[in-house]
């Protein structure tokens, strides 16, 4: 029993299809708590379906996803989601603080307004990502990295132990990438489990404790050294990328 408790996300024999096309095929993986997990794989590999499955949005053809031991489709709010930057309407009339307060919406009953406690929690979350000074800005006025951090704050304010991030490093410069990574690290130290969709293989080994390599089916799950192997990568990417050798060299060194 005690051993089972360690798995925060358990995916078992998960098969999901869209109109007879399998998006995920017999994926089984168990993710332990308190770590930074990267999900890698080529475009169309089912990474976002995998994320949706953990959020409990997709109905599996067969198999199950369990969050802290309970079915992902019935538990609500145990997993916080940080959307991809491109999917957010940055012209929406909303301030940084309001986005963070949204993290508390689940705890607030429908007949009540957000209280001082909720706002305080939101401010704490903003402080954790070092965004408290910009709390009254409209979100479109922020830089790419700041925008990412606001949504991190919202996820932290939700109080969930599991955070899902969809390509947080897409389209930001190196310094910003560092700043975001720093926030991820601190969230991990605060006892969160982070599952991050990532596309840059050259930084994957450095950033993550464990990697999940998928392309419809699961090719590997484990520490970067065991996942970033030439035979696996060439199978998954079909020789489309030539930079592997350098990635693997770094890993081997």
């Amino acid at each position: 029993m005690a051993a089972e408790k360690r798995w925060v996300i358990e995916v078992e024999h998960l098969t999901v299809s869209y109109q007879a096309r399998p998006a995920l095929l017999d994926v089984s993986v168990r993710i332990e708590g308190d770590q930074l997990v990267g999900v890698i794989g080529p475009n169309g590999a089912g990474k976002s379906t995998f994320i949706k499955a953990i959020l409990g949005f997709v109905k599996p053809d067969i198999g199950s996803v369990r969050i802290n031991g309970r079915d992902a489709r019935t538990v609500k709010g145990e997993v916080a989601y940080v959307p991809q930057r491109g999917t957010v309407d940055w012209d929406f009339p909303i301030t940084v603080e309001e986005v963070a307060v949204m993290g508390r919406y689940q705890q607030i009953p429908w007949y009540r307004s957000p209280t001082a406690v909720d706002r305080e929690a939101a401010r704490e979350a903003l402080a954790m990502v070092r965004m408290e000074d910009l709390s009254h800005r409209q979100i479109g006025e922020l830089s790419g990295g700041q925008q990412q951090r606001v949504f991190m704050a919202r996820a932290l304010a939700q109080g969930s132990d599991i955070l899902l991030l969809d390509e947080p490093f897409a389209g930001v410069d190196a310094a910003t990438e560092r700043a975001i990574l720093d926030v991820l690290e601190r969230a991990k130290q605060a006892g969160k489990t982070l599952v991050v969709v990532h596309h840059d293989l050259s930084t994957a080994a450095e950033y993550f404790d464990k990697l999940i390599l998928i392309k419809q089916r699961l090719y590997a799950y484990g520490p970067p050294g065991t996942v970033l192997r030439e035979d696996l990568l060439s199978k998954v990417y079909e020789g489309r990328l030539r930079i592997f050798s350098s990635v693997i060299d770094q890993e081997g060194a």
Partner: protein, 418 residues
């Protein structure tokens, strides 16, 4: 005189009713319109209003044939609601199961159902007495008491829903994925909002007509959108702009003796244009001022290299000869002094240490580009001017050239590369 213009209309009952009915409708339409604008469903309002005529005709017909009631208002209202909901269902059905995209599906369905309504009304013209013109143009100055009551109830219902579930609508509009992940019934909220829009449209059509009702829904909201960074404030402002449109439009209509609906929407649109021009943050004027105060990087870099090449305090006249920039030059110079790139003295401008560093960077880029251009066979007389254009390219360009050319120390004209 002023009394005649402003107070006299207020003493007329038709004007009072128009004012009350119009304001109720405009406030609710403005508030709902905010969500419509943010969800980009403006076209839906149009579709709903056109579909209504079929519903009104259907409701009229059923009430008349089954119960013998002439022009039964609640029956017609119910009919229009059903027609509206049917239209929305048909639109999403067609968009989902066929390759036809949503905007096309909306266009097909609303014209189709509108046509159905027109045909039904004209076939049964001996049974049902619906004035198509009234329907299309609306008649705010002839608002009946029942219309007032209908819009008051519909408005109260919609407003209370939106106030009670403000956060839910906000989140479902802003981030449906998160809304679903914390267990909000996103689909139900969508339907609820569509019902609210239908209710507003139904209660507004008798006043401003089928064609203009969508304007009442989205124009005040869009006006407010230009002025607010928070949804609640946007809703307040939209309600305010809706009200001012009604008041302004009604006076306009009385003074000019024009059609009521037209005057209201004209006023509403003018109001939008004014705000679009002068809005402090998102207005055209503000944008223009921002762009004007922006100093092109190219001008800054040209000033730096000009002074660097001149190699002693450079008077304004010299800079003016070498730097192509219209009136902005003086502003650029004072900005650069403020940014501590230049020092102004009596005999001209001098580079500071930081300015010198920046200037070296640009000069280096220029000479590297010259070297590169020489190697690819650019005619000698074009080398300088082309390099002058290319030196402003940012990113990795310069380092790439440096590497490709084998880190040269001198340029093609024998000038050292810093």
């Amino acid at each position: 005189m002023l009394y005649d213009l402003f107070i006299l209309p207020l003493t007329e009952p038709y004007f009072q009713k128009a004012l009350i009915g119009g304001c109720i409708v405009a406030i609710v339409a403005g508030v709902v319109g905010c969500l419509v604008v943010l969800r980009r469903m403006a076209f839906l309002g149009d579709a709903l209003s056109h579909a209504m005529i079929a519903g009104v005709a259907g409701g009229y017909l059923v009430m008349k044939l089954l119960f013998g009631l002439e022009a039964h208002a609640p029956g017609m209202l119910l009919g229009s609601l059903l027609a509206a909901i049917a239209t929305v269902a048909l639109i999403s059905f067609v968009a989902r199961i066929s390759r036809v995209k949503e905007d096309t599906a909306i266009g097909i369905m609303y014209t189709g159902i509108f046509a159905l309504g027109v045909v039904v009304v004209s076939i049964f013209r001996h049974y049902i007495h619906i004035d198509l013109m009234h329907f299309i143009m609306g008649d705010i100055l002839g608002v009946a008491d029942t219309d007032l009551w209908v819009s008051a109830f519909a408005g109260a219902f919609v407003l209370s829903l939106l106030i009670l579930f403000f956060r839910h609508f906000q989140l479902a509009t802003f981030d449906p994925v998160m809304a679903a992940s914390i267990g909000l019934p996103v689909l139900l909220l969508d339907y609820l909002l569509t019902t609210c829009v239908s209710l507003v449209v139904v209660s507004a059509v008798s006043m401003v007509g089928v064609i203009l009702v969508v304007g009442l829904l989205i124009t005040p909201a869009a006006t407010a959108y230009l002025l607010s960074d928070r949804l609640d404030r946007m809703m307040w402002l939209a309600a305010l702009f809706g009200t001012t449109s009604i008041i302004g439009g009604l006076y306009l209509c009385v003074w000019l003796d024009s059609a009521g609906g037209g005057a209201i929407m004209l006023f509403c649109t003018l109001q939008f244009l004014v705000v679009l021009t002068v809005a402090p943050k998102y207005g055209l004027l503000a944008r223009w001022l921002r762009l004007r105060s922006l100093i092109p990087q190219q001008v800054v870099e040209d000033i730096l290299t000009t002074i660097l090449r001149y190699d002693r305090p450079t008077p304004l006249s010299i800079i003016r000869t070498y730097v192509e920039s219209g009136k902005g030059l003086q502003r650029a110079l004072s900005r650069m002094v403020r940014d501590n790139l230049l020092e102004a003295s009596e005999d001209g401008y001098r580079l500071t240490a930081a300015g010198r560093q920046e200037a070296d960077k640009v000069l280096r880029a220029h000479r590297l580009w010259e070297a590169y251009l020489a190697t690819i066979g650019t005619p000698a007389r074009e080398v300088h001017s082309t390099a002058h254009q290319l030196e402003h390219l940012g990113g990795e360009a310069v380092e790439y050239l440096d590497e490709k050319l084998g880190q040269p120390k001198v340029g093609p004209h024998g000038n050292p590369i810093p």
